[in-house]
């Protein structure tokens, strides 16, 4: 799959001007994963973020007993791995492939540029996009919390009703023994 063509149709990246897109693509590579393989692990340094080009992936968090809670499912176009991306922080969850999938891996070097240069504005535009993607995750998570709290306070509402109220790829977390492989 041609990453440039894919990003050109992606709602988050489609408005990027040619030079900014070229800068972004210069710091990207396409990686392929098989089912149940880890794309990025909880606790590892977040020196990259990802765009899912095809296939299905999920975000999970591991409990002390080894069980995993599924936080989100991602489909083509999903942008993930943004927490910690600007400060080489640690990843708060594991991202694993659920089917054969290809991801566009964006290296954090894309953000490194001297201030007050023409390229600095381009990088700031990219930083804005990453912040918007992160904000979108936060909105969805908060929406989930509000809907879940609403449902739990209204016992007459069936679980399927509040499930229907969630959106954006989030679903009720499920405990799973399924492991991702390295």
């Amino acid at each position: 799959m041609d990453p440039e063509a894919f990003l050109g149709e992606h709602p988050l990246f489609m408005s990027l001007e040619g030079e900014v897109l070229a800068h972004l693509l210069a710091h990207c590579r396409v990686l392929d994963f098989g089912p149940a393989h880890a794309i990025a692990r909880e606790g590892s340094v977040a020196n990259s973020c990802f765009v899912l080009l095809n296939g299905q992936a999920r975000a999970t968090r591991t409990r002390p007993n080894g069980a995993q809670d599924e936080l989100a499912r991602l489909g083509p176009g999903g942008v993930f791995g943004l927490v910690g991306f600007v400060d080489k922080g640690k990843r708060p969850c594991t991202f694993g492939a659920m089917s054969p999938c290809s991801v566009l891996c964006i290296q954090d070097s894309v953000l490194e540029v001297p201030a007050r240069t023409p390229k600095a504005k381009q990088v700031l535009v990219l930083r804005e996009l990453f912040a918007l993607a992160l904000q979108s995750q936060l909105r969805v998570a908060n929406e989930y919390l509000v809907n879940r709290a609403t449902a739990l306070r209204a016992p007459d509402r069936s679980p399927s009703e509040w499930e229907a109220m969630t959106h954006g790829g989030w679903k009720a977390p499920v405990e799973s023994k399924e492991e991702v492989e390295d």
Partner: protein, 180 residues
């Protein structure tokens, strides 16, 4: 309008100390110091967004109104946090209401002023976006924690209004550990 001392701003946002003095001054001049009295509404859910508030002192509660009429607290953002950051990045309407829980001093920065800094590739704009990203990442992490916790212990839904997003990093990590 209030005076905002550089030292107060640096005390709330220590990472801004990495900016050169002139760059920091440009940021402070681009914004307007604003003091909100206790229980003042900074913005309401559904309002158009055109600015962000950098909290220098005080606490801002971010909440949503449930269908039942109850309010759910999504977070409490104190010194060193940016409230309504999306106002800088997009004109999307506010997704929640922000209310000062005590007398609160902020630097209010509107989108036009931010964009001027951004278009210059100004170091203050780079710093600000890093700060927004870092803090937003923390809030996403806390929301992950709360989603998992709520699933594991559904009865905790009743505690949500008094279960804030803790702004301080150490407290946040402790909270996260306790929530597992």
């Amino acid at each position: 309008m209030d005076e905002l001392e550089t030292s107060d701003f640096l005390s709330a946002f220590p990472r801004a100390g990495e900016l050169e003095g002139a760059a920091l001054n440009d940021l402070l001049v681009a914004g307007v110091a604003m003091r909100a009295l206790e229980n003042s509404v900074l913005f309401d859910a559904g309002d158009p967004s055109s600015c962000a508030y950098l909290v220098v002192d005080g606490v801002v509660r971010v909440e949503r109104l449930l269908e039942s009429g109850e309010r759910i607290t999504l977070g409490r953002l104190g010194r060193g946090h940016v409230v309504g950051d999306m106002g800088l990045l997009s004109g999307q309407s506010r997704s929640a209401t922000a209310i000062s829980e005590e007398d609160t001093l902020t630097l209010r920065l509107d989108r036009a002023s931010y964009r001027r800094l951004r278009d210059e590739g100004h170091p203050a704009a780079i710093w600000l976006l890093e700060e927004v990203h870092l803090r937003m990442g923390e809030r996403v992490e806390v929301s992950y924690d709360r989603v998992v916790r709520l699933y594991q212990e559904p009865e905790l839904a009743r505690e949500l209004p008094s279960d804030p997003v803790v702004p301080d990093g150490l407290l946040r990590r402790l909270w996260a550990r306790m929530s597992r």
